[in-house]
Symmetry: C2
Subunit: 336 residues, 2 copies
Amino acid sequence: VSSDQRASGSAEDRLIARYFGPLIKHPGALDLTDDAAVITPPPGFDLVLTTDGVISGVHFFPDDPPASVAKKALRANLSDLAAKGAAPLGFLLAIALPRDLDDAWLAAFAQGLGEDAEHYGCALLGGDTDRTPGLVSVSITALGLVPQGTMVRRSGAKAGDVVVVTGTIGDAALGLRLRRDPSVAQRWDLNTTLTEYLLDRYLLPQPRHVMAESLRRCASAAMDVSDGLVGDLAKLCRASRGTVDIMQASIPLSDAARKALVAEPALIETICSGGDDYEIIASVPPDKLEPLMAAARSASIPLTVLGCVSAGTGEVRLLDAQSRPLAFAQPSFSHF
Amino acid sequence: VSSDQRASGSAEDRLIARYFGPLIKHPGALDLTDDAAVITPPPGFDLVLTTDGVISGVHFFPDDPPASVAKKALRANLSDLAAKGAAPLGFLLAIALPRDLDDAWLAAFAQGLGEDAEHYGCALLGGDTDRTPGLVSVSITALGLVPQGTMVRRSGAKAGDVVVVTGTIGDAALGLRLRRDPSVAQRWDLNTTLTEYLLDRYLLPQPRHVMAESLRRCASAAMDVSDGLVGDLAKLCRASRGTVDIMQASIPLSDAARKALVAEPALIETICSGGDDYEIIASVPPDKLEPLMAAARSASIPLTVLGCVSAGTGEVRLLDAQSRPLAFAQPSFSHF
């Protein structure tokens, strides 16, 4: 056995060292050569834990750029952490790779993952790599930190709180429609720039991590919007025992989404229940609204008031211009 | 919307509540109805993190009992925690389910998982449930606790330390052979009891969690044996810059494995490099050997001395009765 072979171990060890070795920045990862990672939690903080994954053909297209697949998987978790007011600490990666996947795919995946780990300050701590007879699947468990007792929950909204949402809603769901059927771009009267914008919003979520701290200081409840605005807001309302009416006109739309909606008004259902937005909805006591708005402004993140919480049992009504409730066949994306 | 529908949310929420709701024992799981779990790490402890998963057709057979699949997935992680000297704290579950999987499968899976979570004191903290066009895949991230700075690493073995292993080696790999080709039972001269024993050792790992504390007090290095004794010990040796010679006769074998080996001596390679043992190898300074042996005895876990560490660069040699080194085609299980 040559010293080189001894140093590198099995093919699996070599694969991990080669592609994920460059991502090791946290000493607790133990160079990815131990059974487990170890971290010393800073005193006075709670640990926030979330897990989210992507599967080829379900959450992304097999021909998506591997770097985007990696980033989408990590960012879905970072979006959860942001909504809970948590600062990213690190993550563990479980990846299943089909035998016919070439090295270039994995190299690009690992590079994209490393870029995001660096950018968001969320270090790779450990992982599990398997071959699968099935499709590429990536599962990430992310850890975040909040000062003890301050994690923003879904259950804290009170009657009288204002409901706000970051960014724009529906772009990713429209981007998915465009991806599946490029001809709708013409029907929606979208030029190349607007089409690319929607496609990119589907491909690459933008977690609102810079809002985490101000959410922790201002929000009574929050969650990330990943399964559709109406259904996710209903989850927050159920957890908080509240009710919210939203005027359709108050939903923040991108220029692209607005054009598409004008061309095809029925798209309102796709926009409000399509999922993959990775924006944050939050309830805010009235006296905390201005500080939260100021934080969003200084971060250049749009923050829009959707409505007010009233006492109730979890109902969310979406009202049209005549204040008539809209009814959707499926208010929220569900895998089941 | 009826109050019942409001309370239960989407089909995905109902599925989670129905099957995994009964597993909620930890307040930090937030009833599995928030974006994330939250835990307050006890002061003075480090957090040990590991992730391990199972995929249908790779780590288990599609017709394995669903409760065993759940237990195997969790126990693979518990075995890592035990080897690191960590007490289980909780876990996150990511599961991908094919559309054609029936409810009975998931019900049995969740029940098995709940039994083990209870038995090993490792609470469900959160999860992610997806439909997949592929195969059942289960990924678990487990958290454990050790007093600060005391996690047992792979890298602490010193020249002069004694190498020990728990339990018996090779049973699961032989069980897998039996599972694939039941006719070998006759060739190996195994009766039903011995055959069932080996099959069960493949189906259901027995994590050595009761050894965690004494490993922390006595071992200079440790890891779990999941990819084959020789290859895994070589990993420990590489991390510790040591070398170990093992006499083949010193490897602890079950009655079933011994019978099989007598019938087919070439099985020594399967036994030593087959994987799925979920035993623990550890290096122990000579003065700590007796306390570790005593702990194993009082836990009724066999603990066997394999050899001694000498200075080196990670080589593990397996010697036959004439002290000749055996060479294996593949010393360690590798997915790649």
